[in-house]
């Protein structure tokens, strides 16, 4: 480690001794020493990379265009990449030894894989949006269903309203089923440990990879063939629930497991009962993580086609009744649209797919904004609110202590702000962070 030289411009306390902060250096080279540049990128590296890239591109172009009977974009890219690696190794080997050459090549490969991953995502998303633009520019795409639009109608007639409404209805019913059940099960896995909970966890973890078509087949066999239900939105949301339930449980289980044991033990040490600990300490502490897990499960459920394909039937009309009659969702409508050979229908399919992508993106952004923080990590506003509540508690305790036993109980009472009898549950989850003394 390079030690920063003593800064001559450091602020000195005028009277009593205090902490000295290094100020900005007055000269470029304080003490005649120069800071060492810690970057490992040198000019020759850049030259080697650019040169290898240019040489590889031209060589591949020569081979593809003139010498060999090859064609196709993918082949071109693969070949150019191979040449690039070879030439890069050659150029680096002029001024480096063996291990360094291997290091450079590995770094190039790893970096390009990371880039490829991002590029694939970008291409997939952008391609759907670009192809769907023809349908998306017509406003009727968002306000009409396909009842009046035959396969040959232009894009100015008909839309995907029925599919959007169907998706929303299905996912809401599925969430009403899965969120309470999933959260109860996740809390069960953590709060009532034992052999039974371990068994349930094993089964749930194995079921996260349940093929979605098997979930659809299960509901088709039980609810539709067995119980005689219609092919309907409700059956589809049951199938989605079967598929989403293990995903949500597993994600929530992981999040709840991250709640620090000290918080729980502190709560138990105060004499809190189990359900109050779970409700007032465990769940609020991991609220953001739970939200994220539910939203990500929703995103998975929204995009699933095959359970809906088996259980919802297909219609081109708007159907708002989940119990009777077939209902379509966005992915199912996409799937059915692009089966048609008509270009307008295919455009509609891409438009529906873009709508679906937009919905998933929206959910994803929401998950990132609401969640993504570890348990107990607070936003500034939450922290502020907690400090205020804690001060309020401290005042209340002080007032009560003043009434009952003056001058003795105040500090002790302030420390027990996690007491379940406290009026504000929002003040209780993290008593350590919100101790009144540390609030300033």
């Amino acid at each position: 480690m390079t030690v920063a030289p003593e800064a001559p411009g450091a602020r000195q306390a005028p009277t009593r001794p205090r902490t000295t902060l290094p100020g900005p250096p007055l000269t470029a080279d304080p003490g005649g020493e120069r800071r060492r540049a810690l970057t490992s990128l040198r000019d020759t590296d850049v030259y080697a990379m650019v040169g290898a890239a240019a040489a590889a591109l031209s060589l591949t172009w020569l081979l593809f265009g003139w010498l060999l009977p090859f064609n196709g974009v993918v082949g071109f890219v693969v070949m150019a990449y191979g040449f690039f690696l070879l030439l890069y190794a050659l150029l680096v080997s002029f001024d480096e030894d063996g291990p360094a050459v291997v290091d450079r090549i590995a770094a190039a490969v790893v970096r390009s894989m990371g880039l490829l991953m991002v590029a694939i995502l970008a291409i997939v998303v952008v391609y759907a949006l670009v192809e769907g633009r023809k349908a998306l520019v017509h406003l009727n795409f968002f306000t009409q269903d396909m009842e009046l639009a035959g396969p040959l109608e232009p894009l100015s007639v008909g839309g995907a309203l029925h599919a959007a409404a169907g998706t929303l209805i299905m996912i809401v019913i599925a969430l009403v089923i899965t969120v309470p059940l999933g959260l109860i099960c996740a809390v069960f896995l953590n709060e009532v440990p034992g052999p039974f909970a371990r068994f349930v966890r094993t089964i749930v973890e194995a079921m996260t990879a349940l093929p979605s078509i098997v979930a659809g087949l299960f509901i088709y066999a039980t609810a539709i063939l067995g119980l005689g239900l219609d092919q309907s939105g409700f059956a589809a949301s049951l199938a989605l629930s079967v598929m989403m339930l293990p995903i949500i449980i597993r994600a929530a289980d992981v999040v709840i497991r991250l709640v620090p044991g000290t918080l729980r033990e502190a709560s138990y040490a105060m004499g809190t009962s189990r359900w109050r600990t779970a409700w007032h300490v465990v769940l609020p502490t991991c609220r953001s993580g739970l939200t994220t897990s539910v939203i990500l499960g929703t995103a998975r459920g929204i995009g699933e086609t095959s359970p809906v394909l088996l259980t919802a039937g297909f219609t081109s009309e708007l159907n708002l009744d989940p119990l009777h009659g077939p209902m379509v969702s966005l992915p199912l409508a996409t799937f059915e649209f692009v089966k048609s050979p008509e270009p307008t229908m295919i455009s509609r399919g891409f438009g529906t797919a873009s709508l679906l992508m937009a919905l998933v993106l929206l959910l994803f952004v929401a998950a990132r904004i609401l969640g993504g923080r570890g348990p107990g990590q607070l936003t500034r506003r939450q922290e502020h609110r907690r400090v205020l509540a804690s001060r309020r508690d401290a005042r209340r305790f002080a007032a009560r202590a003043g009434r009952v036993a003056p001058a003795t109980g105040a500090p002790a009472a302030a420390a027990t702000s996690a007491d379940p009898t406290g009026a504000k549950p929002s003040a209780s989850p993290t008593p350590f962070r919100s101790a009144p003394g540390s609030s300033s």
Binding site: F70, G72, V74, G75, V78, V102, D103, A107, V110, M113, G114, L116, M117, V118, V124, Y127, A128, E131, L181, I184, C185, V187, F188, L189, V192, P193, G194, F196, V200, I203, A206, M207, A209, L210, P211, I213, V214, A215, L217, F218, A221, I249, Y268, S273, R274, W275, L296, R300, G303, T305, S306, L310, P331, V338, I346, G349, F350, L356, L361, F364
Partner: protein, 353 residues
């Protein structure tokens, strides 16, 4: 269990007085105190609710397998072992089996894994080792987002975008590597420049490519998590001995993350086996055992179900349930193995840094 011991003060009154009574009766005897605390009615209700919730979830999950087996029994009973060896699907004529679709499913999944594993390993190493810290969090988000993109969107992309781009490459591979049996394409004539490329469309290779891109983010996120847990002390030790970054990765990160790599790959394999819509959109279903990866026409269990469930008779439905059950068992086994490997690699392999 721990907490039971920590919580005796709730019901401290009776046990303590009881033990004092016993002590006064026989002061020499020192018997262990019963460490049970009465949780009280609300807690008992709470625990009952939790248990029943867990039980309900368990029941649903077990029911999925149980009910499929029950429904499939009719067909399985009639077909016997020939169900696994027949490459034909005519349940009403009593000739049906999953040999062809199973081979197709496994081939598609293996192509997918071959595509996804290098991509995911590279991306995971990039995120955990090479990426600048500012970029890291957004890259993780991108990979998560990629895992959440609906499969129908991948399917669209595969059919309308990727297929045309890949066909010349498929043709090239089949022309120069047809001496490897897997890459052979029956009926292809490399000397005919006007030959239609349609013999290469809708193949196992293209379906596998698309499925590989779908499972790559899943594999990548597991690998990244394991790689980033590689102990800092060993990393620094490798650097201190003069290792390059790749040397450090090869001698510390990869051996440490081996379990996670295998487990993540198998989790991805489980997803690839069960993938329906993207595969269904790309392939053209055949019921022969199709070993030629590049040739048009292949099959998978899930596409078979998606194609035939609507027109199936009652017995045909039972046969489809049997196929679904086979798929279910296959993914379950793969997934069990994967999660046990991942769990072991996370807990046991840690060393103090």
């Amino acid at each position: 269990m721990l907490f039971k011991k920590r919580q005796p003060q709730l019901a401290a009154a009776e046990p303590v007085s009881g033990s004092q009574a016993a002590l006064s009766a026989d002061p020499a005897a020192d018997f262990p105190r019963r460490l049970y605390a009465d949780p009280g009615l609300p807690d008992r209700v709470f625990r009952a609710v939790l248990r029943s919730g867990g039980g309900l979830v368990l029941a649903v999950m077990l029911l999925v397998g149980g009910f499929l087996l029950y429904r499939a029994w009719l067909a399985l009973d009639r077909a016997g072992w020939s169900f696994l060896t027949t490459a034909e699907w005519a349940p009403d004529a009593n000739r049906f089996g999953i040999a062809a679709v199973l081979v197709g499913t496994i081939l598609i999944a293996s192509v997918a894994v071959c595509v996804a594993v290098p991509l995911a390993t590279g991306a995971a190493l990039y995120i955990s080792e090479y990426a600048p810290p500012r970029l890291r969090q957004s890259l993780i988000s991108v990979v998560d987002l990629m895992a959440a993109v609906p499969s129908v969107v991948y399917g669209l992309w595969g059919v309308f975008f990727l297929q045309d781009k890949v066909l010349p490459t498929a043709r090239w591979i089949s022309t120069y590597f047809s001496w490897i049996p897997v890459f052979d394409v029956a009926g292809a004539d490399p000397n005919d420049p006007l030959a239609s490329a349609s013999i290469y469309t809708s193949s196992t290779f293209i379906a596998g490519l698309v499925v590989g891109m779908m499972i790559a983010p899943i594999i990548c996120s597991i690998m990244r998590e394991v790689f980033s847990q590689a102990p800092a002390g060993e990393r620094e030790g490798a650097y201190a001995l003069g290792a390059t970054r790749w040397g450090m990765i090869r001698s510390v990160v990869l051996p440490f993350g081996k379990g996670g790599m295998i487990g993540g790959t198998m989790l991805g394999l489980g997803r690839a086996l069960g993938e329906t819509i993207a595969v269904f959109m790309i392939i053209s279903l055949t019921f022969d055992i199709q070993w030629h990866v590049l040739q048009s026409g292949t099959s998978s269990v899930s596409s078979l179900i998606a194609l035939r469930y609507g027109e199936a008779s009652e017995f045909g439905m039972s046969a489809l349930m049997a196929a679904g059950f086979a798929l279910f068992v296959m993914t379950l086994i793969v997934n069990f193995a994967a999660s046990s490997i991942v769990a072991r690699s996370r807990s046991g392999a840690a060393s103090d840094a």
